[in-house]
């Protein structure tokens, strides 16, 4: 049970007439860097709210380190081990950088002074500056400091590099990598920056309309999914049985473009067996995979 940092089974949540989550499953192993991807409105924020105990699922179960998140005492204790950076990176407007750190410290018995010092220096955070005067990048970095210096075993980050310039984004990502490799901190983050996810994540889940549509180790998925382009010299035949099992099929003139997961070998072999074909395969980037899977069937 303690192998899993986050485990969610068949989560369901509805708001009035809108079904935000329809049976979502999640499995985040300890120590992984887990990318949580999906379009706006797919259910990412709802899931994160449930994980942080801010909302209750209608059905199904969510557990962090084997404990159910919520507003009772065990839920409160659980939050000692979790660092959270929400989408709105807002903090108390009447405090300075120094004050909010001093305010937060007593809540966490495992506060990491070394991380606090490291980030204050590495992120160049001005201690006496009032929070509303900080730039967006600074605020994101401050929230990351507060989330990690508490000695958390798990970080839940909602769009951590949102609105940050490439230099700051790279700094943030680098610190996440350092945390993962040196402390074994589990990192669960949602993002629209697919390139960044591709860079740092080792596992991903893509969620659409409240359900997980693809899940697994990123490197395996990228190897598994291929784009196969078949050009028919005499035009595309009506019979497409050779392309059975493909995830997406698109016709363009004399070319058929296929996105395939498990059956790439078979499809390629069958395509090559057909007369007058030229078959090429291309690797698929995470972005292409995401866009293709989101395209309506």
């Amino acid at each position: 049970m303690t192998e899993c940092a986050i485990e969610a089974v068949a989560l369901r949540k509805s708001f009035k007439r809108h079904e935000a989550l329809c049976g979502l499953n999640l499995n985040v192993p300890r120590g992984s860097v887990f990318g949580f991807l999906g379009r706006n409105g797919a259910g990412k924020t709802t899931t994160i709210r449930i994980l942080m105990g801010l909302a209750k699922a209608d059905q199904g179960e969510a557990r962090i380190f084997g404990i159910a998140p919520g507003d009772d005492d065990s839920g409160a204790l659980l939050r000692r081990r979790i660092g959270f950076v929400p989408e709105d990176k807002e903090l108390y407007p009447y405090m300075t950088v120094e004050e909010v750190i001093r305010f937060s410290r007593p809540f966490f018995p495992h506060w990491r002074d070394d991380l606090e010092r490291r980030y204050l220096k590495a992120f160049d955070l001005p201690p006496k500056k009032k929070i509303p005067e900080l730039s967006k990048g600074m605020r994101s970095k401050l929230m990351l400091l507060l989330a990690t210096a508490r000695g958390s075993e798990l970080l839940i980050l909602d769009e951590p590099t949102d609105g940050l310039d490439p230099v700051v984004a790279e700094e943030v990502l680098r610190e996440l990598i350092v945390l993962s490799s040196s402390d074994g901190t589990t990192i669960f983050f949602s993002s629209h920056q697919l390139a960044e996810v591709e860079q740092v994540a080792d596992r991903i889940t893509i969620i659409d309309q409240g359900r997980s549509i693809i899940s697994g180790e990123l490197e395996d998925l990228k190897q598994q999914y291929q784009r196969i382009k078949v050009v028919f010299a005499d035009g595309i035949p009506a019979d497409i049985r050779w392309a059975q099992g493909a995830d997406r099929i698109r016709n363009e003139g004399r070319m058929v473009s296929i996105l395939s997961g498990r059956n790439s070998d078979e499809i390629m072999a069958q395509a090559r067996a057909l007369p007058g074909t030229s078959v090429d395969t291309y690797p698929v980037t995470l972005r292409e995979l995401f866009l293709e899977l989101m395209r309506a069937d």
Binding site: L173, I177, V178, S181, A195, Q199, D265, T281, Y282
Partner: protein, 131 residues
Amino acid sequence: MIIHVNPASGIPIYIQLMEQVKHAIETGALRAGEQLPPLRRLAEELVINPNTVVRAYRELEHEGIVEVRHGAGAFVRQRAAGQTLVSRKAQSIMQSAVERLAAAGLEEDAIRRLLENELAQLKEGLIRRRT
């Protein structure tokens, strides 16, 4: 040793790392007995997941190119002397192939594309056989 990876190229990062290490060995940038960049440092420098580097080094070990010593790091294996001979033969094969394709009227881009496709298919063949 400077390694670059392109996370958005579609080719798994660990494969890119392996290729770069092999290329470095073939060109002499990395010699037998020398140490590969330490795992954590490489991951942090490239801002990529450490597990990716782990996988790359492990695969290289499988292929007998490097040797992973616990606590010390990954080191380039002593290769057979016949390695240089293989490289020279390979070079002449490539030279004649390119000349023939050029004579057939193909442009540089077309030749490169053909080569990349063949390589991609070769890689699949190799990987699928092992798993």
